[in-house]
C-alpha cells in the first residue's frame, strides 16, 4: 500500500492494492486467532479451577507464542523455496 504518495508498483491498480491490503490484514487476524486457540489448548488446564492464569500457564503461553511464530516463519520459507508465494 503506498504510504507516502509514492506511486504503486508497476501494473498494480489502486483497487488491487486495497484488495491485497485487505487480504494481508485478514491473514494476520487469522494467524492471531489460530495461534491463540492453539496455545490456549496446549497450555491451559481445561478444569478451569480459577479465573486467573497461573505462572506456569503464563510462561507456557509466552513460549508457545514464540515457537508458533518461528514455525510460521519456517513454513513460510519452505513454501517460498518451493516456488509458492503465500504473501
Amino acid at each position: 500500500m503506498a504510504a507516502n504518495n509514492s506511486p504503486l508498483p508497476d501494473g498494480v491498480t489502486k483497487e488491487q492494492a486495497f484488495g491485497m491490503a485487505e487480504t494481508e490484514m485478514e491473514y494476520r487476524v487469522e494467524l492471531f486467532n489460530r495461534l491463540s486457540q492453539t496455545c490456549f489448548s496446549k497450555c491451559v488446564d481445561k478444569r478451569y479451577k480459577e479465573s486467573e492464569l497461573n505462572m506456569g500457564e503464563n510462561s507456557c503461553i509466552d513460549r508457545c507464542v514464540s515457537k508458533y511464530w518461528l514455525v510460521n516463519g519456517l513454513v513460510g520459507q519452505m513454501l517460498s523455496a518451493g516456488g509458492q508465494r503465500p504473501m
Binding site: 507516502n4 490484514m25 494476520r28 487476524v29 495461534l35 490456549f40 478451569y48 479465573s51 503461553i61 507464542v65
Partner: protein, 94 residues
C-alpha cells in the same frame, strides 16, 4: 488489530485513509463475533457434560465464567507477545 495500523499510512489521501479505517472496523467486528462463537463452543465443550436437565448446574455456570475470563486474559497476553514479535523485538529465551 487496531487503528495503530493506520499510523503507517500518513501520506495517503483522506478518502483512502477512511477506506482503510472502514476495512479495519469491519475486520474487527467480524473477528469479535468469531471469537464470541468459538469461546462459547470451547467453554460449553469443556464445562458442560450433564444433560439430565435443561438448566445449567451451579458448577457448570462457574466453570463457564472462569473459562471465559481465563480465555480473555490469555488472549490479551497473546496479543502483547504477538505485537512484540511483529515489531521484531527480541524476547528473552526462558
Amino acid at each position: 488489530m487496531d487503528k495503530n495500523m493506520l499510523a503507517g499510512l500518513e501520506g495517503m489521501p483522506e478518502e483512502d485513509k477512511m477506506r482503510m479505517a472502514s476495512m479495519i472496523d469491519q475486520l474487527q467486528i467480524r473477528d469479535s463475533l468469531k471469537m464470541y462463537n468459538s469461546l462459547v463452543e470451547r467453554c460449553f465443550t469443556d464445562c458442560v457434560d450433564d444433560f439430565t436437565r435443561k438448566s445449567l448446574k451451579k458448577q457448570e455456570e462457574s466453570c463457564v465464567a472462569r473459562c471465559a475470563e481465563k480465555f480473555l486474559k490469555h488472549s490479551m497476553r497473546v496479543g502483547m507477545r504477538f505485537a512484540e514479535l511483529n515489531q521484531g523485538a527480541a524476547t528473552p529465551d526462558n
